[in-house]
Symmetry: C2
């Protein structure tokens, strides 16, 4: 790989790191270039703007997370075990962040979603798509259980959205309290949202 | 009320408005003073720093929201009706924001929680207290149902935390999609988290 693409990769990595740690609005191109170890002018060789980098960071992060979610949620295992795997992966990402930087980074998409306020911001549009795709993946995974009538009222999509919202809310607590353990109830809560918790199945 | 306290109130109102609309990091004292219609020097007569204003904004917002939550959740009504009232109030706040500014503002506490990354930030400590108090209030409201064994496994506190997390996650969607209607499933999801949904009670 040539030096130029190395620099592009380093800028992408610097953006991923900084956008995960601090408010998007507080981070400038100069800081990103310094973190990447490239001259500020080099930044614009690869990305026309901070926004363009943000879109690239979001896309790269989602490509990776999407593959992980699909790998776990389409495995040939009972739904409860697949959900357990998904949340274990969620906790592990935050534990690694704590080990590496001392801080829970939270969810890159959630962090940015609460920041981008302009209605016509392309980052906002991309985040909307990503959350819809997250809900799609969960919906697909829970649909057979739902169709079998074991998860009660509501559509599979409503249940999937409730689960993704629960993840975002719990990750917010994990970040605020800097404690990945805040995520431990995710499986229990999701099974309850699906009507698949012990209390019901025991009934 | 004298001119000076008017100015202090206007600075507080300007901070509440701006912190609700945009990233905390992107807002400076000069902009807050301009929004309040006071000279920048006047800002420092009332608040030693932007952080001090943020604490005052957060405290004032919580004082108001806490009173509203307590009024609704301690009313002499069945739990389902009290939760329905709480979420109706949550939706109404966002609908009013849309009517006033064109945008869902989301949750001031959630927005700030995802921004304050420094572990020793006093705003972060205050937000931790507020979320604990929110969970306390919900826990108190659901405890009798929980004690009566109608809400299945887990503690009342775990269930209360799941409900507050669900609110934060759904409010994030409402903000991202600029649509208060995203909050409509809150009652259904909360009843499921409590094991009080129709499917269960009908069983």
């Amino acid at each position: 790989m040539g030096r130029k693409s190395d620099a592009g990769d380093r800028i992408l990595a610097a953006g991923t790191k900084l956008f995960g740690q601090r408010a998007y609005a507080s981070i400038g191109v100069a800081e990103i270039a310094a973190e990447a170890g490239v001259p500020k002018g080099s930044f614009y060789y690869f990305f026309p703007s901070k926004q363009a980098l943000a879109l690239a960071v979001v896309d790269a992060h989602w490509e990776q997370q999407r593959a992980e979610w699909l790998r776990i949620l389409t495995a040939a295992e009972p739904l409860t075990e697949r959900l357990r795997g998904l949340f274990a992966s969620t906790v592990e990402v935050q534990r690694q962040a704590v080990a590496g930087t001392g801080a829970v980074v939270g969810c890159l998409f959630g962090n940015l979603a609460l920041e981008v306020s302009a209605q016509d911001d392309p980052v906002r549009a991309r985040l909307q798509q990503i959350f819809e795709e997250q809900i799609d993946i969960v919906e697909e995974a829970i649909r057979p259980e739902h169709a079998a009538g074991r998860s009660g009222f509501g559509t599979a999509r409503e249940a999937a959205k409730a689960i993704v919202a629960q993840i975002e809310g719990m990750v917010l607590f994990a970040k605020l309290f800097n404690d990945p353990g805040q995520l431990d109830p995710l499986l229990q809560n999701s099974l309850r949202l699906l009507g698949l918790d012990d209390a019901r199945t025991a009934a």
